[in-house]
């Protein structure tokens, strides 16, 4: 399908150029990996007068860990996350999640930052960033902002990014307590598919938990009621059952082309149980290995 709308294209070399282009045009669109943008240009959902390609900004391509703070630059693709030693050693659930996004050919282009800028309800990055309490770092002409992830996702496809700002990257504090995690994603089939439900869990050595569901509400949701119920408790079967009951209070799935709301709700409870068990097993140095599906 051809793109009908005409626009200018600028491949910027530095941030000043980005801001210069912002001043000159009415309706600019940032282009990173393009896996969402080009689709939207074809469908006419986006009709920009200029497309600003940021792939030439090399300083956005860093993955680094310093002072226990992880930095993921806006230009980092999902495949670069999967291949990163820092990620595999210290944040294995980010690699576990990234492997479930689309296919190799998409992941060679698609960035995590583009993913949270598109902010669709089924974003796979959302639940992970939510349990890590990540921050999104934006920059505009007036300087930088650090936006906590729970304020970043405003509603479906809406973020806290302001006009004439771009995202520089994502920062995550490495938790100081010993911990392990699990990312699980329900799909219609093995292989590439968007999530019907996705879920990220962190389990800490003091048996406290952070739990976040995706695809079951307009934005990722921290399951606060469940966390309060099970924190520092032994997860005996009766407690697990109560936690599963609370899923109904914490999420609000809808029916769409990928699943009915009843199916989503049912599976969310099963995923919670298996995800918690996997995270706890990993915490205590047993399996399952990261990347092995638990559903």
């Amino acid at each position: 399908m051809a793109i009908e709308n005409q626009f200018d294209y600028v491949k910027v070399k530095n941030l000043d150029e980005v801001f210069g282009v912002f001043q000159h045009y009415k309706n600019p669109v940032i282009l990173s990996g393009g896996t969402d943008v080009v689709e939207f240009l074809k469908s006419g959902t986006l009709q920009p007068d200029v497309v600003i390609d940021i792939k030439g900004l090399d300083f956005l391509k860093d993955i680094r860990l310093g002072n226990n703070i992880l930095w993921i630059g806006a230009g980092v693709t999902f495949n670069e996350l999967i291949e990163s030693e820092i990620i595999n050693e210290h944040f294995p659930i980010i690699a576990e999640m990234s492997k479930t996004v689309a296919s190799v050919g998409i992941r060679n282009r698609a960035t995590m930052v583009g993913n949270i800028c598109s902010a669709v309800p089924c974003t796979d990055s959302g639940p992970i960033l939510s349990v890590y309490k990540a921050s999104v770092i934006t920059v505009g002409m007036l300087g930088e902002r650090k936006i906590p992830i729970e304020q970043w996702f405003v509603s479906s496809r809406k973020t806290a990014l302001a006009k004439h700002e771009i995202v520089k990257g994502i920062s995550i504090q490495l938790p100081d307590k010993k911990h392990a995690g699990c990312f699980t994603k329900l799909k219609r089939y093995n292989g590439e598919d968007l999530a019907q439900v996705n879920l990220a869990i962190l389990a800490f050595e003091d048996y406290s938990f952070r739990i976040s569901f995706g695809s079951v509400a307009p934005t990722p949701v921290r399951a606060m009621r469940i966390e309060r119920l099970i924190n520092r408790m032994k997860l005996v079967p009766e407690l697990m059952e109560k936690a599963q009951q609370l899923v109904e209070d914490d999420i609000a799935p809808i029916t769409d082309i990928r699943a009915t709301k009843e199916y989503r709700m049912h599976m969310a409870k099963i995923m919670l149980e298996r995800g918690l068990n996997a995270a706890l097993n990993r915490l205590n140095s047993g399996g399952p290995a990261y990347g092995k599906s638990v559903i």
Partner: protein, 151 residues
């Protein structure tokens, strides 16, 4: 907006005028005569439009032609300058394809995989071609051919 871009295509420097709204897949097929990338779904799902940019497989239906300025693009035509590759020989031996529509994408994806990891296991092979849909074969003869080569 129109612009003359220059890029490496299958090892040769090419210059071509493109409009900013032209899609790479269309420019490669309709204007540069390379027919291995094909339009299946036009939205990133099927992998028939696969090409390599700087050594990595990508979906040319989701890339603006103007984005490849100064980059290195390789299509299936470009990896067989010296005849069929061992991987292609193995696909032939195993009768891996029927209609062949998915073949260019599958060959590029598995070529990328083996360049990274010449000893891939079955799971890794399946993951590498997960985004290459085949309507004919049920995938088994494709996977067998790659396993045969790496074992």
């Amino acid at each position: 907006m129109k612009k003359e871009i220059s890029f490496l295509l299958n090892g040769e420097r090419r210059m071509i005028d493109v409009s900013s709204s032209e899609i790479l897949l269309e420019v490669l097929r309709d204007r540069l005569g390379l027919n291995s990338p094909k339009c299946g779904c036009d939205r990133g799902d099927c992998g028939t439009c696969s090409v390599m940019i700087n050594g990595k497989t990508v979906r040319s239906c989701l890339i603006l032609a103007i984005e490849v300025e100064d980059q290195e693009v390789v299509t299936l035509e470009g990896i067989m300058h010296n005849g069929l590759t061992p991987l292609q020989e193995s696909f032939l031996k195993h009768n891996s394809f029927q209609c062949g529509f998915c073949a260019p994408g599958v060959i590029l994806s598995t070529t990328e995989l083996l360049a990274k990891n010449p000893h891939s296991n079955k799971e890794e092979i399946q993951e590498a071609i997960a985004g290459n849909l085949c309507r004919c074969t049920g995938y088994s003869p494709i996977i067998d051919a790659v396993i045969d080569l790496v074992k």
